[in-house]
């Protein structure tokens, strides 16, 4: 692009092109969706196996979560330092993720006071988070997969505890792992253009 004067139509076209280019460029590569998707998926299945084996250490399976949190914090800090462009959507996704983490913490620590099994609510939180993030980054597969998780959250209230664990695994498979792969593929194809 050179430094030259343009007419009104060219100006308008240029503005549209640049704004669309900047706004439609994905800044999320799907890595964290995949990381959390697989982490929760594997942990939930291990937890299910331990519960089935009536192990008294079953709940220890979830100790992977704080480590996942630490890894995520380090990853995000590094990513922020190396990013060439900071979009407003990055900020919104950050706020939604923080709200999700706080909500998850409250639900998990107050299960006794809730007097119900917290797993359907956890699936509901997964669905809410992926639905909002899908809207922010304008990635339809994420929105559609989140809708499936909403259905799973609704259904989870009608199943026993052990089945709910499997529904959590299914929920992250549908709303994290599947769209995570699709997002990563789109991000890579965009980077290769």
């Amino acid at each position: 692009m050179e430094e030259r004067e343009i007419d009104a139509n060219q100006s308008f076209e240029l503005i549209n092109k640049m704004v669309n280019q900047a706004q439609n460029k994905l800044t999320e590569n799907g890595f964290l969706l995949l990381f959390w998707g697989w982490l929760v998926f594997i942990t939930a299945l291990v937890f299910y196996c331990l519960i089935s084996a009536e192990s008294s250490y079953a709940s220890l399976a979830w100790v992977t979560m704080p480590f996942g949190g630490i890894f995520t914090a380090v990853y995000v800090m590094k990513k922020n330092k190396t990013e060439k462009v900071k979009s407003f959507s990055n900020d919104y996704v950050g706020y939604v993720s923080i709200a999700f983490t706080i909500s998850m913490f409250i639900v998990l620590t107050q299960t006794n006071k809730l007097q119900l099994n917290c797993y359907p609510i956890i699936i509901l939180l997964y669905a809410i988070m992926t639905f909002i993030i899908g809207g922010i980054i304008r990635f339809k597969p994420l929105i559609i997969c989140a809708l499936v998780s909403f259905v799973l959250a609704f259904a989870a209230f009608y199943f026993e505890f052990k089945v709910q664990i499997l529904l959590i695994a299914l929920s992250v498979l549908v709303s994290y792992i599947l769209p995570g792969h699709l997002l990563m593929r789109k991000f890579k194809s965009q980077s290769n253009v």
Binding site: E3, S11, I15, Q23, K86
Partner: protein, 93 residues
């Protein structure tokens, strides 16, 4: 009567830069260079003109021992861009 177009924005490269910066929070020099396909020298000159007019802020820092130039649109720049778009619409009608 048509409004006069802002001469600072009514040029291809500067308008492209402002259009990008109005859509993002901040962008690195290298990102702007890639998106506009401009040469580094030309882009530097045009960024300086936008900075002199207080349309953008330029922050130079080091990240991982590499120099980094970050550009961000200012409220004055946003207003100028909005006025420019408003004016250009009258020419197109």
């Amino acid at each position: 009567m048509f409004k006069d177009l802002d001469p600072l924005l009514h040029s291809q490269l500067r308008l492209a830069v402002i259009s990008i910066l109005v859509s993002v929070k901040e962008a690195e020099f290298t990102y702007l260079k890639e998106e506009t396909n401009a040469t580094a020298g030309n882009l530097s000159v045009q960024l300086q003109k936008l900075k002199d007019a207080e349309y953008i802020e330029i922050e130079k820092k080091f990240s991982n021992n590499y120099p980094q130039t970050l550009c961000k649109i200012t409220p004055i720049g946003t207003k100028a861009f909005a006025n420019y778009v408003k004016a250009i619409k009258q020419y197109i009608k």
